[in-house]
Symmetry: none
Subunit: 193 residues, 4 copies
DNA sequence: TATGAATGAGATTTCATTCAT
DNA sequence: AATGAATGAAATCTCATTCAT
């Protein structure tokens, strides 16, 4: 399918950063997995951090697309919020999503270049915005109880973040954790009749 | 005040691992901040990972003590659970708690030595146990609605984990995030009359 | 206008070698400043050292032309020698002469290819020859005192070399240095009545 | 004689920087010639530039000592100035002086760290000061003609610099160059009766 | 217990040069 | 003539760990 070597590098980077984290992922590992020469990495991406950023942004972009698609067709705000949570959690365990790049590499907050960090933060902030819009819709259509939408969105995202970490980083996560998390959200935002 | 050099090393380690993360914290930095000789580090702690483990366990131990103290005198299970959340979040922003060691260094999941990893996991698992006991008490005394206590505890902890990360690692956290998180928990577990 | 890409490369090379020295001047920098493709460099000049040689020879050629023009119309040998010195020093601070290529890049003496080094040395040797001829004229016409013309020419050139380096490479050069250097030469060669 | 490995590194650095110049002198070459481990270089000197600075300062220090010793016992200012020139030129061809470090490595003017550059410049400026003092003495004692001492010192140093470069860097230097240079200075500064 | 010099493997990055298009 | 992706050797620098004192 005519994949360029540049693409191969990005793909290898997404896989390896997710598997091994930022520091344990070396130029050697990346170029070997991508099947290209070592020097091509800096040739195409400048340096390790820029490649890391590219990898993260790529995953985040697909993530946002999935979240938007998931909420698009929901009949009301409440259903959309719940669909959002399900899509979030599904994406986070999809073998092909390379989600781990975003999880394992807190270094996004350690990025040395301010511009890179800002670019990443900007995209990350888009996530709660999607949810917030649905909460507002839900309060308007009566499916969600009256709450501060910004803060509530942030709390829900926090719950997603935490559940996901518990599931993928610890050995003791309950198999029902994801389902419970969604229920928890549901109980907490659904309008009471 | 009679602090041994060994203690000084541990203190410096806790600070630096929290500030810079595992890899960016070097033997040189630690020994310099502690004001002791470089060689003393391996002499007392064996290697970097062991020191890291010691630092993490130390913080975790104090954390557990705080959580237990906070729930001890609550009049009912529901109040205890809420007190637990408040104590968790307070500890996480206490300047002197060195909490960041636990946050910034997911590497606990990357620990090369299985024994070390297990020791850490064991202590981490004690956290939801404390909460779970209170949820059970709450269901018995009627202050908490009927839920699966294990799963619910894990969800609540996940929310704490996520809120905390949002607060300490991102630049866009709402100032009301912690308060909202506690409300969220409250709405979700409090027994309905 | 109508400058070929080959010329643009040479011009960029002269500027950059002078600004940054040999090693810090890269193919990338040159091709970028010239606004041409990277590959064109080896295509036209073979390799870095050949390009460097071309740049140096180009500047040296213009330098010699200037020196010859300056001495041409002098009424006597003494005046010609002084005119030579003035022209040397003026050229060395002319913004458009790219003189720095010759100063900053002692690597001419490091050139790996013997042929290149010889070619460069040959042209460099032409400089004292010009002055020597004028000194001989001066001794004949009575304007210059009796001295060994070859050695004296070399000493005068050495003074030019040193004054120039002091002026362009150090921060403490006296503003009158060039004028003093010329006076110094004058005192030392002018025939005493 | 109990030479430390740190000293061995400095000695190897002085030799190699002089022989090969800054860039062609690698960590590998230095540590091999010094017979020590590669990492010791950064351990003791921090980085390549710092080592280069240390090497240069070391040579410069000995150079200044030699110049001061040479002028100390001269009977008058004129003799001192001439002794200064002889000492300068002798030092520059003394096999053991490692003078080439200072000649081959114009990079002193390219030093990235401002502090390093300043430190070097400061010491370099001490050289003309020594000569200037003797010129002033000579004008007072009647052995040197009346001239601006600062400017004249700088011109003489420039002549030393240039003669030295001609001798050590070019293949066409006259064997009498040094002697002629001293004569040149003599003619130019000696008081006329 | 305490010190810090010493080691060397390994990481990132640079860059002249080649080559297919 | 012109392009720029691709290569890989080599350079600098980092750092956990060892060890003699």
């Amino acid at each position: 399918m005519n994949k360029t070597k540049k693409d191969a590098l990005l793909q290898a980077a997404k896989e390896l950063f997710g598997e091994f984290g930022y520091v344990e992922t070396t130029f050697k590992k990346i170029s070997e997995r991508a099947g290209v020469a070592l020097g091509l990495l800096t040739h195409h991406y400048g340096n390790k951090e820029k490649l890391f950023l590219a990898a993260g942004l790529d995953v985040l972009e697909q993530f946002l697309a999935v979240l938007r698609a998931a909420t698009k067709d929901a009949p009301d705000g409440y259903s959309a919020a719940i669909a959002f949570c399900r899509a979030y959690l599904d994406f986070s365990i999809d073998k092909n999503s390379n989600w781990l790049v975003l999880v394992r590499c807190s270094p996004y907050s350690d990025m040395k270049t301010k511009t890179d960090r800002d670019q990443m933060n900007e995209m990350f902030e888009a996530v709660p915005k999607v949810l917030e819009a649905e909460l507002i819709r839900g309060m308007a259509d009566g499916s969600v109880r009256q709450l501060n939408p910004t803060d509530t969105a942030q709390v829900i995202i926090s719950l997603m973040v935490g559940s996901n970490r518990t599931r993928v980083l610890t050995p003791y996560a309950s198999p029902k954790l994801y389902a419970e998390a969604v229920d928890f959200v549901s109980r907490s935002i659904q309008a009471v009749k």
